[in-house]
């Protein structure tokens, strides 16, 4: 693992991470719910009375973030290099996988680890390893 110091951004990584933690922690302290985004979205597919509006509001907040950010500074550059086919495959796998695995980087990684969940630790290790293996295959094999 040779660190590329040109792209490593420890300061903003920590600062942004702290904000994410604030959002997730604050959400649990104020609303009593886990800020696991795959779960928040998944619940929209099982609509129950009184359970839909807050999910839409959360999603709206995420989507509004770039607008808020842009009021203070130019938005960071974003690079989506995957082809359409790859994006579709990736989306399907993420959709299916988060459903079965009961969470993603926010649910298991942030919330789960923060409450010392062994289950979330296992999940996080698994999806991190799978992600790293996938990138290894795509970038360094063949």
């Amino acid at each position: 693992m040779a660190i590329d110091w040109n792209v490593f951004t420890p300061g903003t990584a920590l600062a942004g991470g702290a904000l994410i933690g604030l959002a997730a922690g604050g959400f649990f302290l104020l609303a009593g719910r886990i800020a696991g985004i795959s779960g928040v979205m998944g619940g929209l597919l099982r609509p129950r009375r009184g359970d839909t509006a807050w999910r839409l509001a959360f999603v709206a907040g995420l989507m509004a973030a770039p607008l808020a950010y842009a009021l203070a500074a130019p938005l960071p550059a974003v690079h989506i290099d995957a082809s359409a086919g790859l994006l579709i495959a990736a989306g399907l796998l993420v959709g299916v996988g988060t459903h079965y695995g009961a969470g993603c980087t926010s649910g298991h990684g942030v919330c789960g680890l923060s409450r010392f969940s062994g289950r979330s630790l296992a999940a996080t290790v698994v999806f991190m390893a799978a992600g790293m293996a996938t990138v290894f295959v795509l970038r360094h094999l063949g």
Binding site: G17, L19, G25, I80, L93, G109
Partner: protein, 140 residues
């Protein structure tokens, strides 16, 4: 719950993703590419997030209720089973293919990034198809 809490949480979460660079798939892939020029940033993002959230969850554990006095919905699932691992593997592969997961995908949608909608639609389709299968199985 008051919608402003949910909206605010999503907003702050999204700002965190943007500031940390996690809304950029290339930066996420830079972390997952351990054999290449490695960008450890994601690890620090996680560290910063867990460091702060840990305090909140400990506080919640001690209080027993939310700051508003409403119930805390602690996850109840226990143990590591095939579904958790299998799901994690599939999610991880999908994540590694494009460097996108649910949160950043929504932020990118909000940015109007081209192709973000393609990933988001496929993700919803993946969730919906399996949700449909589960519900169909449970109907007996």
């Amino acid at each position: 719950m008051p919608l402003v809490i949910a909206f605010g949480a999503g907003l702050v979460f999204g700002l965190g993703l943007l500031i940390s660079g996690m809304a950029d798939p290339a930066k996420v892939l830079g972390f997952l590419d351990i054999a290449g020029p490695w960008d450890p940033s994601l690890a620090l993002v996680m560290g910063g997030a867990v460091g702060v959230a840990m305090v909140a969850f400990a506080l919640a554990r001690r209080r027993g209720t939310t700051l508003r006095g409403t119930p805390l919905q602690w996850p109840t699932a226990r143990g590591v089973d095939a579904r958790l691992v299998g799901g994690g593997v599939l999610f991880g592969i999908g994540w590694g293919l494009a460097g996108l997961c649910p949160g950043p995908a929504l932020v990118l949608l909000g940015m109007g990034a081209p192709d973000a909608w393609l990933f988001a639609a496929a993700m919803l389709a993946g969730m919906a198809v399996f949700e449909g299968i589960e519900q169909w199985r449970r109907r007996d």
